[in-house]
Subunit: 396 residues, 2 copies
Amino acid sequence: MSADFELASRTARMNVSAIREILKVVNRPGVISLAGGIPSPDSFPMQAMDALASSVFDKYGSAALQYDLTEGFPPLRQALSGVLSKIGITVAADEVLIASGSQGVLDGIGKILIDPGDLVAVEAPTYLGAIQALSPYEPSYVEVATDEDGAIPESLEEVLAGSEVKLIYLVPTFQNPTGRTLTLERRHRIAEIITDHGVLLVEDDPYRSLRFRGCPLPPIKSLAPDHVVYVSTLSKVFAPGLRIGFTVAPQAIRDWLVIAKQGVDLHTSTLNQALAAEYIAGGYLEEQIPKIVDLYRPKQQRLLRALAEDMPPGFSWSQPEGGMFVWVQGPQAFDMDPVYARSVDNGAAFVPGKYFFASPDRGRSTMRLNFTTATDDQISQAVGVIGHAIESELDS
Amino acid sequence: MSADFELASRTARMNVSAIREILKVVNRPGVISLAGGIPSPDSFPMQAMDALASSVFDKYGSAALQYDLTEGFPPLRQALSGVLSKIGITVAADEVLIASGSQGVLDGIGKILIDPGDLVAVEAPTYLGAIQALSPYEPSYVEVATDEDGAIPESLEEVLAGSEVKLIYLVPTFQNPTGRTLTLERRHRIAEIITDHGVLLVEDDPYRSLRFRGCPLPPIKSLAPDHVVYVSTLSKVFAPGLRIGFTVAPQAIRDWLVIAKQGVDLHTSTLNQALAAEYIAGGYLEEQIPKIVDLYRPKQQRLLRALAEDMPPGFSWSQPEGGMFVWVQGPQAFDMDPVYARSVDNGAAFVPGKYFFASPDRGRSTMRLNFTTATDDQISQAVGVIGHAIESELDS
């Protein structure tokens, strides 16, 4: 008898990432991709890696290769508590949990908190990876409206008044996909709202350090510590291939995240955690961040300038103070899908914005542009191609 | 309003690992632990690590630090397909998936296959980590009886005849906790049974290379390829801290494991996969395995000799041809719990066997002993203490 392997019903909620499929298509030669979302390899501290590796083996010896605590490698938790204190999250080392990428935290949050049908409030648009991590636990999504200043507190209040929300997921700083940042005033307002409603907020903060202009804003975690699971990663400021995420969560949640993680991967790579600990404690992180900012700032400027030159009237875009993305919005009835096809044919790719909405049929007139991996000239050229494709579409 | 953080109902099935709690207690100074289940740090190729790291950065440069495919780092998949072909699992590189430890595969299997209430058949006793990975998906467990030759095919047949089983989980070689190995005849028989019933078997095979005596036996995967998800790891032959597991699964399952993994950790550490690829392709693995076997074989002999000297009549134990564990069985009415307390008080620890059963109130007369991390003298001393504790318990 052949095996039938009947799938679990939750698989109906699990999809191949549309963006990953797009990335496969656009990674072909001759196509300049502004579709990606990965750091530039030039942002990695390659020159430091041999020294870091030697230092780890000298200092920790075989412990760097051994099983370790599910909670995380103590020197890394210690180092991260220092990093966090500088942004207003004052925690002891043992309040920091390490995960296998911030994705690992989101999976854990889904596993311990979400029953099928529970409501999760997300920005419209939101980060797709979060949807992918949470959806296997079968929540329903409800959308919080956003504008140039990030999530709109009044919209969040409406959502919370209308239904029992299990958790809220926000990327308040240099959001993926829009690049937008929640204002200080709104941070305070949202801290109040979640405290008043006794609802949990997952604050995903991977881009904070990539600030090109303006002043840092406090994480919402620092304003409502008991109601926020703060999630971040070293993927954008060290190396994504090491898969080091971390979280600071209310204690009951932290304890359950550890239990969930025991079943998923026991612990995150000890070696990579030791490398990360050395990277932070040895002062490399502090040295590298300005270099990464200097690498990305001119690329973003080039992108914004090219948009100003090549986008037709009726198109607008975000003006992020940092991060990795710019969000373009066309006239309401405009459809970005044919533009996408035309652009790729002519050698430039982006991600149609519709993929970043939890509900279908939203954001058809939008697109996400990334500027971290293309060269300056490629950025100009790609925006030229996209601009032409839009013009052709408007004319057709 | 204070946050209430109502937990998902599946958390009722998720427990702190009892063994981890035991390990915390016994890791105190002055206690010789035969309770652990970790490799000896002396088994790690420390002298090769600097060279491996340099070689990875030379060869792969920034790609070793970048995001990579969810499926796994191609050079590692290639290297593992070579390793697998030597044990009769003939697969192309792209049929091998990399996971974050074999735990990562088990979590994925649970996520894509198990609906609440689905039946999972496990050995009695079985590997606890599998229970911990699968339980959040809320299966029920049904036990397959075992003897000195591993799982009993007739018991498996009875289980399959009596109810609809979603999957079977076995550790056929040098099982954790018993050290027992399924005979060749039973491997063929079980391959037939799963094929006849069209049921999926998860074959977990982490200890295969740690063979001290006797001849290698084919994995069940090689006998019923379409019905087996083969799972293994580099944790026992390279370094557990790197968290490199791998799997070969029927294609439909493989495709879904990739989708599940995208939501959990995107991919396993690129750097560690590159180190593992170099470790295998550079011939280090083949060199290291005999060294590990030479390290463990005398320790196991010492343990078996000490048991022969110190166990009272009525106690028997497994005679494994490899692996990391020996299983001790007392007279049926004997209770190992007070022995555990008495032993720890006197400076020697083990894991009471009852923790390795899916059903409560089984295996109270059993214990698991590990021999990989203690010295030879410590092994003798610890078994002496345990023997005394048993004698005292029999006298009391």
